[in-house]
């Protein structure tokens, strides 16, 4: 016996000059380049590759393609370990480590297989029935036990070290599948100059041609394949994408695909992604995805050694592997005979061919005689026997007599199901074809046509004809002129008749419908008995068709058995609607580059680097990173830092980046009129060179945003918005202009990114600015009073804008320079203020100071407050119309007891307040009926030395001095507070005008 006992001496499409070492469950084996893990395991005689999901039954390799339900393994190790990989599509590479899964302690000796002893309790609906028993059982018993026993492999548990990416592609014709139908479609379309994308999930193009011994045009099909691929590669507008699975169809001809760029390598080469997710925009698509072979349901049909007949041919012809030495064929159609022929041709022994059809056929008899196989006409396999792999089969012949035949391979042929999944991703319903005994595509998605086996046209001749015809048709439909047709090439004789056998009943032992979920024919019967008969109920009750294979080999058998149970036909019983993805897709590839810190873009201010160098801690504010506070050595607590920053501003001077505020440049003869309509207050009287606070409402009368807007010229304004609403306000104004008032001569554009802006606040703000503003600009209180807004120059002729506005209540300015100078501005101000102990402050100190001054911000502008609620009702002009005016007068919005804006301070000054606390009158129970409003913002004021709050409470302004409870059940807070003015610091505004 050779080292690789089941490898044929010659033949196959493997590269015998390139040996590949790999390991399975720690043992080293040899394969060749061109193998899959499955073919290499079979070549080495490894047949037991996994344990089943529920009963832990031994399982082997059923298929040779993406439909594999059994041979799921873990590939690689460490952070790259990936569970549930189908061995049948895993390309072999040198050093591949594979492990079986769902077994303990080892594959051959699996303790969990005792589940088989209690299997009567694990039938359909078992999981749901556990919910009906005492609840305590669930947590303590079922959940841990089920978790341990069931499952499909282990995730890596460490961050994926590889990179993934997205990509976009466009084409006239997308061809899905690189078999004979897809290749001839791509050729027909490509020769006409169309932009063609040809995708195939395999690493080698050719589809079933690779697995068959066929002829085209009187020559081996491999010659046609080679010539076709060579021509396609020569066409500049044709893109061939192997290792690429189209997994879904979305609206408007958008296809999702995953390209496995480096899955076939131990690790991706430097700078290459592991996988790439494609979004393909196709004008037309030709689905040429082929077909999937169907197993037969009989007792013991899950033993390692029971395989699909077409898969056996693939292993023999493509991989040069004979999956067994003593083979029995169980076929319901012509196709199984091809497998018998190919096994014999490869030197295998075919013990018997069991053909379920009753018609005798001299051709079949002749083939059976030629290969020396017994021929059972009208016979079935009643059961398969063995321990960890197939040992024998019991044949029930036409007379009902049974014979047991020793064998190590049972190839099952029951006809094929078109791979029509993509046709139903847009709600298309497959249709039953009685003659073909399979579902075929029903109403097709727009732009899609279906060629070859995927359309139920199972012969090679049909595949070639379909492909060429649909390729031409697609080219015409996108407005191109098709090139001349290729002369028809005949194939060798072929037959595709089948009379399917859905199950063989009557024998003892479990007969599996769905291998992956351990669903047996009995489970379908239980579902029928218990009333779960509609196909959707059948699926949920039994789990048939769920998990990674999505029932590719099981859905139809399940339907057929349900039909039999209920006395209906298959089409009466239902169809399966397939949803994306066709095969499993890793979440990581859908995220692409955008994971971890790259999850979404981050926006940095022009002063970011300067702040970073000053030790800023940054906080995410929408997409922005803003300086939150600037800790100094020895400051262990953020509050210590923030208190220092606040006190520095109130006693001397501080600077804070405010570049993130939205800035909208508004120009035009009607600019003032436009603002008049957008804001609730008046703008026409604002002089050039002055700023004003503005408030705007939504159409429904609630507050939308606030900010200062400055008049830079007669017809030129600069609006500022809050950071959070910058985009929304811009959209709103564009809408107002384009839809509501297109007649107004006004033009606006966001200049938020053009200007770096810094607040300079505190008694020494003016002195500090003097160090950066060019000498000719007079900053005195008389020349540059509160609310002045002017274009100036700084640092020697650098254009700048200076606004005397204050959020802190101090003497304060905002200085704006073109963004490239933002960094320099920050540094220049720090230098200029050095003598005054200038202190950079962040958003925390900014927030403390605005609360001390009772200014509203995001917490109060929460979309549920009106101008009246916020104490800004006096701003609502009665002399003009503006957006939201009428709706703001709705009865409920002007009701006197609406919660209104006031301040709160704890009666016991040592107590801490919490935002979110609700207000209750003293002595009232904590019920919804007694709720009087809530605390919107709190902060510790180092100035008044207590926690202060802002909030909304019924009749607030009329209740100054009253005590209420601030009740916070979530954090066990219940603090007695006094309602007070929202202005905690300098209520007269002396500092502001200093």
């Amino acid at each position: 016996m050779s080292a690789v006992p089941y490898r044929l001496a010659s033949g196959g499409l493997i590269d015998r000059s390139r040996r590949v070492n790999f390991s399975f469950d720690g043992k080293t084996y040899q394969g060749y380049a061109g193998d899959t893990l499955a073919s290499a395991l079979l070549a080495n005689g490894v047949r037991l590759v996994g344990r089943s999901f529920k009963y832990h039954r031994p399982r082997g390799i059923l298929s040779a393609g993406p439909e594999e339900p059994n041979a799921l393994v873990e590939l690689r190790s460490g952070a790259r370990r990936e569970p549930n990989t189908r061995a049948t599509v895993a390309e072999l590479f040198d050093g591949l480590e594979a492990m079986s899964q769902n077994r303990w302690p080892s594959l051959a000796f699996d303790l969990m297989s005792i589940n088989r002893l209690v299997s009567p309790a694990l039938v359909a609906g078992f999981y749901y029935k556990t919910f009906m028993w005492p609840a305590a059982f669930w947590e303590k018993l079922y959940e841990p036990v089920i978790r341990r026993a069931a499952g499909l492999g282990r995730a890596a548990g460490a961050e994926d070290p590889d990179h993934y990416e997205k990509a976009f592609a466009f084409c006239d014709v997308l061809v899905i599948g690189g078999g004979p139908a897809g290749l001839s479609a791509a050729l027909a379309a490509g020769r006409s100059g169309a932009r063609v994308i040809l995708c195939d999930e395999d690493f080698r193009l050719g589809g079933r041609l690779l697995a068959e011994k066929r002829e085209i045009g009187g020559k081996p099909a491999s010659e046609w394949l080679g010539a076709t691929l060579a021509e396609l590669e020569s066409l500049p507008e044709v893109r061939i994408m192997p290792r690429t699975s189209i997994f879904g169809l979305y609206d408007h001809g958008v296809y999702g695909a995953v390209e496995r760029v480096a899955d076939h390598l131990p690790t991706p080469p430097a700078h290459q992604p592991r996988q790439r997710s494609w979004r393909i925009y196709a004008k037309r698509a030709i689905l040429a995805a082929g077909a999937l072979e169907r197993p037969i349901v009989f007792a013991g049909n899950d033993l390692p050694g029971v395989m699909l007949a077409g898969a056996v041919r693939a292993y023999v012809n493509r991989y040069g592997v004979l999956p067994g030495r003593e083979a029995v064929l169980f076929t319901a159609g012509d196709d199984g005979w091809t497998t018998a022929r190919d096994i014999a041709a490869a030197g295998g022994r075919v013990v018997a061919v069991v053909d379920a059809r009753w018609e005798a056929s001299p051709n079949r008899q002749a083939l059976a005689d030629k290969i020396g196989a017994r021929f059972f006409v009208g016979g079935v396999i009643e059961s398969a026997g063995g321990g960890r792999q197939l040992r024998d089969v019991t044949v029930r012949d036409a007379s009902g007599a049974t014979t047991t035949l020793a064998c190590d391979l049972l190839a099952v042929s029951n006809g094929w199901n078109p791979t029509l999944h993509l046709t139903s991703h847009q709600n298309g319903k497959p249709q039953w074809d009685e003659a073909l005994q399979c579902f075929v595509p029903g109403n097709l998605p727009e732009g899609m046509s279906v060629a070859g086996s995927a359309a139920g046209h199972f012969t090679l001749t049909q595949a070639l004809e379909d492909g060429a015809a649909l390729g031409f048709e697609a080219v015409k439909s996108v407005g191109l002129k098709p090139s001349g047709a290729e002369p028809f090439q005949s194939t060798d004789p072929e037959a595709a008749g089948v009379t399917p056998v859905w199950r063989v009943a009557g024998a003892k032992g479990k007969a599996f419908v769905d291998y992956q979920n351990d669903v047996t024919d009995k489970d379908v019967e239980i579902a029928a008995r218990e009333g779960f008969r509609p196909v959707e109920h059948l699926k949920r009750y039994t789990t048939l068709g769920m998990a990674t294979d999505q029932g590719k080999t099981s859905n139809l058998s399940g339907l057929a058995i349900m039909a039999e149970q209920t006395g209906k036909t298959i089409p009466q019983t239902g169809t399966t609607t397939f949803r994306p993805p066709y095969t499993p897709v890793a979440i990581g590839v859908l995220a692409g580059h955008h994971r971890g810190r790259e999850f979404r873009p981050v926006r940095l201010t022009p002063t970011h680097e300067a702040s970073r160098e000053m030790g800023a801690i940054f906080v995410e504010s929408g997409q922005w990173l803003r300086a939150q506070y600037y800790p100094e050595p020895g400051e262990s607590d953020w509050l210590v830092t923030v208190n220092r920053e606040v006190m520095a501003v109130r006693s001397s001077v501080g600077i804070c980046d405010v570049s993130t505020l939205g800035k909208i440049d508004i120009q035009g003869a009607d600019a003032a009129e436009f603002l008049e309509r957008a804001y609730i207050n008046g703008w026409k009287a604002l002089p050039v060179g002055k700023a004003r606070y503005g408030l705007m409402l939504r159409e429904d009368g609630f507050v939308m945003d606030d900010g200062t807007t400055s008049r830079l010229g007669e017809n030129h304004f600069l609006m500022t918005t809050t950071t959070a609403n910058a985009g929304r306000v811009m959209q709103h104004l564009e809408f107002c202009h384009q839809v509501l008032w297109p007649d107004l001569d006004v033009r606006m554009v966001s200049v938020s990114e053009q200007w770096a802006q810094v607040a300079v606040a505190g008694p020494r703000a003016r002195d500090t600015l003097r160090g950066v503003v060019d000498a000719e600009h007079d900053l005195s209180n008389e020349a540059f009073p509160y609310l002045a807004a002017q274009e100036i120059t700084v640092g020697g002729r650098i254009p700048a804008r200076l606004f005397r506005i204050s959020f802190s209540g101090e003497l304060a300015y905002e200085l704006a320079v073109p963004a490239d100078y933002g960094d320099a501005m920050m540094r220049a101000l720090m230098r200029a203020g050095e003598a005054f102990g200038i202190t950079p402050y962040g958003t925390e100190a900014l927030g403390v100071m605005r609360i001390e001054k009772g200014h509203v911000a995001g917490n109060e502008l929460n979309g549920q407050t009106t101008a009246r609620d916020l104490g800004l009702g006096k701003m609502m002009s009665t002399k003009k119309d503006y957006i939201g005016r009428i709706m703001a007068q709705r009865q409920a919005l002007v009701a006197p007891d609406r919660p209104a804006f006031v301040g709160f301070k704890p009666v016991d000054p040592t107590q801490r307040l919490r935002a979110g606390a609700h207000f209750l009158s003293v002595g009232k129970a904590a019920t919804m009926e007694n709720d009087e409003g809530h605390m919107t913002s709190v902060a510790y004021s180092p100035h008044v030395k207590l926690w202060m709050g802002l909030g909304l409470i019924k009749n607030g302004p009329a209740r100054i001095g009253e005590r209420v409870r601030a009740y916070d059940p979530v954090r066990n807070g219940d603090v007695l507070v006094e309602i007070c003015s929202p202005v905690f610091v300098d209520p007269e505004g002396v500092r502001l005008h200093g």
Binding site: H271, H593, Q667, V749, A819, D820, A824, A828
Partner: protein
């Protein structure tokens, strides 16, 4: 009052500073992608008066020799470029800021002009694999039949709002320019450099 004028030299800091620098990135060997920074271009938004776009276009062509496209296009005239940015709205880009304010003053006679020179970063992209890199983030069809020289688009690239247009080819083939807001530049470059790495990427200053 202390006069402490100009104690400090105001140095510009561009959007890309600290993010990318000249050199070779990714795969070694010949670069599939070349990135040239457009350092210091003049950029402005120009929005024509509500009516009379065509008249404005004629006047500007006569004054500046610049054609304002009426469809998504980017047209060049000398050192100036006009990129369609919406109905009646264009980006005016000058190779440098010399006499740029004068140009803007000229334009201001015909509509609203807002200087945006510091608000955007512009990269010029070329090389044999430039289409392959752009395909990883651009959701529009850049096939030459669909996006010829002069074509322009406003789009989103890797979640970042961007303007993209195709300039005249250079010796190595097609040349694209992409413009993103300065605050997003770091995130944009993170995506671009990761995407270009497999082809090898050279970054060079425009001036070189």
């Amino acid at each position: 009052m202390v006069e402490t004028q100009n104690l400090f030299a105001w140095t510009k800091r561009h959007a890309w500073q600290g993010v990318l620098a000249d050199g070779h990135y990714g795969k070694a060997g010949k670069s599939g992608v070349t990135v040239r920074l457009r350092t210091g271009p003049g950029i402005a938004t120009f929005i024509a008066s509500t009516e009379g776009h065509v008249a404005v276009g004629t006047a500007i062509r006569e004054r500046l020799g610049l054609v304002l496209p009426l469809t998504p296009e980017a047209l060049c005239a000398g050192h100036l470029q006009a990129v369609w940015n919406g109905p009646g709205q264009w980006l005016i880009i000058a190779d440098n800021r010399e006499r740029f304010q004068e140009t803007l003053a000229d334009l201001a006679k015909f509509g609203a002009v807002s200087d945006q020179s510091d608000s955007r970063a512009v990269l010029s992209l070329s090389g044999a694999r430039v289409y392959d890199v752009l395909a990883k983030g651009v959701m529009i069809d850049l096939h030459p039949a669909n996006f010829p020289i002069g074509a322009a688009a406003s789009t989103s690239i890797a979640q970042v709002g961007a303007s993209l247009w195709r300039r005249a080819d250079d010796l190595a083939g097609p040349v694209f320019e992409v413009m993103v807001a300065r605050s997003f530049f770091g995130s944009f470059w993170s995506w671009f450099s990761a995407s270009a790495a497999e082809f090898g990427c050279t970054v060079q200053d425009e001036i070189q």
